[in-house]
């Protein structure tokens, strides 16, 4: 037996820069979930989900553990594909897939790891370089300083010596540095102190203001309140009895 229902979109604290309807144009990024069903073995995590997410606002994805929040983000990034339905990602009205899609997304998830034997600077040089961005030494310092990982604080040590909070900040530095059009954030405030969580909220708001599509999986009331709209996933969890 499987229970639960799927997405129940709700408005969050409201559109700060115009309604969603005003943004229903070809400009910017959009992700369309068309009757999407995702299963892992016999376990249906998402069933028949139809939803459109657009750039220029923060969309929170909420739900209990196992409800499919992380799966939702992976589907959006085409890191996994649905068993039924389709996920269409478009940038400025043109559908993007494969390498073109990957070049437009940035991800912060608990599963994402950076190279432990490299320094923060070397990790950033690698991921930003792979996106065709090369910063000056001052540019890297500024980016690391922006997330609280300035050289004076870390001493240029390798990532293997970082705390979980510092590793989370490094993921955020890569996110901010890539100029991605789609931000997929899974519990981005996890392991951060209050100042760090406030930084994430401010950066996400600024990115949405630039037209970035910000999709934010969270169970944190503060992060959910920051969102312009919310998708609640109830999931399809197996009953225990």
């Amino acid at each position: 037996m499987w229970g639960g229902l799927d997405a129940a979109p709700q408005k969050g604290r409201g559109m700060r820069r115009g309604s969603m309807e005003e943004r229903q144009t070809d400009a910017g990024a959009s992700i369309v979930f068309a009757n999407v069903t995702k299963r892992f073995g016999a376990h249906t995590v998402i069933h028949g989900l139809t939803r459109t997410v657009r750039g220029g606002c923060i969309t929170a994805v909420t739900g209990i553990n196992g409800s499919g929040k992380s799966t939702f983000l992976k589907l959006a990034a085409h890191l996994i594909m649905p068993e039924e339905g389709a996920v269409h990602v478009a940038i400025d009205g043109e559908e993007v897939r494969r390498a073109a899609l990957r070049a437009k997304i940035a991800l912060v998830t608990p599963e994402l790891r950076f190279y432990a034997r490299l320094t923060a600077w070397e990790n950033l040089a690698f991921v930003l370089g792979a996106r065709g961005k090369k910063l000056t030494k001052e540019g890297y310092e500024a980016l690391l300083g922006r997330v609280g990982l300035a050289r004076e604080k870390t001493g240029g040590m390798r990532v293997e010596g970082y705390s979980t909070g510092m590793r989370q900040r490094l993921k955020l530095a890569a996110l901010f540095g890539t100029d991605a059009r789609i931000w997929l954030l899974d519990e981005p405030g996890a392991n951060l102190d209050e100042a760090g969580r406030e930084m994430v909220r401010a950066e996400a708001r600024a990115a949405a203001g630039r037209g970035t599509l910000v999709l934010w999986a969270t169970n944190d009331a503060g992060e959910e309140a920051e969102a312009d709209e919310t998708i609640r996933l109830a999931g399809h969890l197996p009953r225990l009895s």
Binding site: I80, M81, R102, L112, R113, F114, A130
Partner: protein, 223 residues
Amino acid sequence: MKPSAWQGICLVFRKELTAGLRFRAAWAAMLMFALTTLACASMALQGGSLEPRMQAALLWIILFFASMAGADRVFADESTAGTLLTLRVYGASQAVLLGKLCYTFFLLLVLAAFTVPLFLVFLDVTVKEPLVLLGAVLLGTGGIAAAGTLIAALTTDASTHSGLFSVLMLPVILPVFLPAISLTASSFGADGAGSPYLGAMALYDAILAVGASVLFDSLWYED
């Protein structure tokens, strides 16, 4: 801005080299395997000598199994460390494949540069055709690198990674392995193989590299 293919390959190669030099476990495992096997073979022979074909076969057995101690880890290490997702999100498929292939080839060249001279000294082997030996080593290690990188990518998510890697590697690498042994034997003074084998090995290496490149996109992108 999209980086050029060459810039992407160099980035991946440099990342692999930096991380590899700081850890060195793969390097140490390969070189120690080669050294131990050479020492055992040398002591077992007690000054006796082998036929050129046996010498060549022994050399390639050492190179092949020593390379297995390091070359199969190129994607499995990323998976274990959790960095495979980072690579998938930020790295372009061809840059990742070719960067890792170049690094594996470099690793195997270092292994060969370490093993072959020691082999010649320990087993008292005289090389009659050094250029043929050089060609066989370059093309043989190139083939192992190309096949190893592709099969490592294919088996990354398999629960029985190491076993599957070895099983799949054998049939793919045989067309490189057998001519490499014949050519090496020829360079040690045996009759037979010559330049046509070099051409065939180069062709097979190219087919492996192109095949890996074509297949890799379907592994890297789900859609």
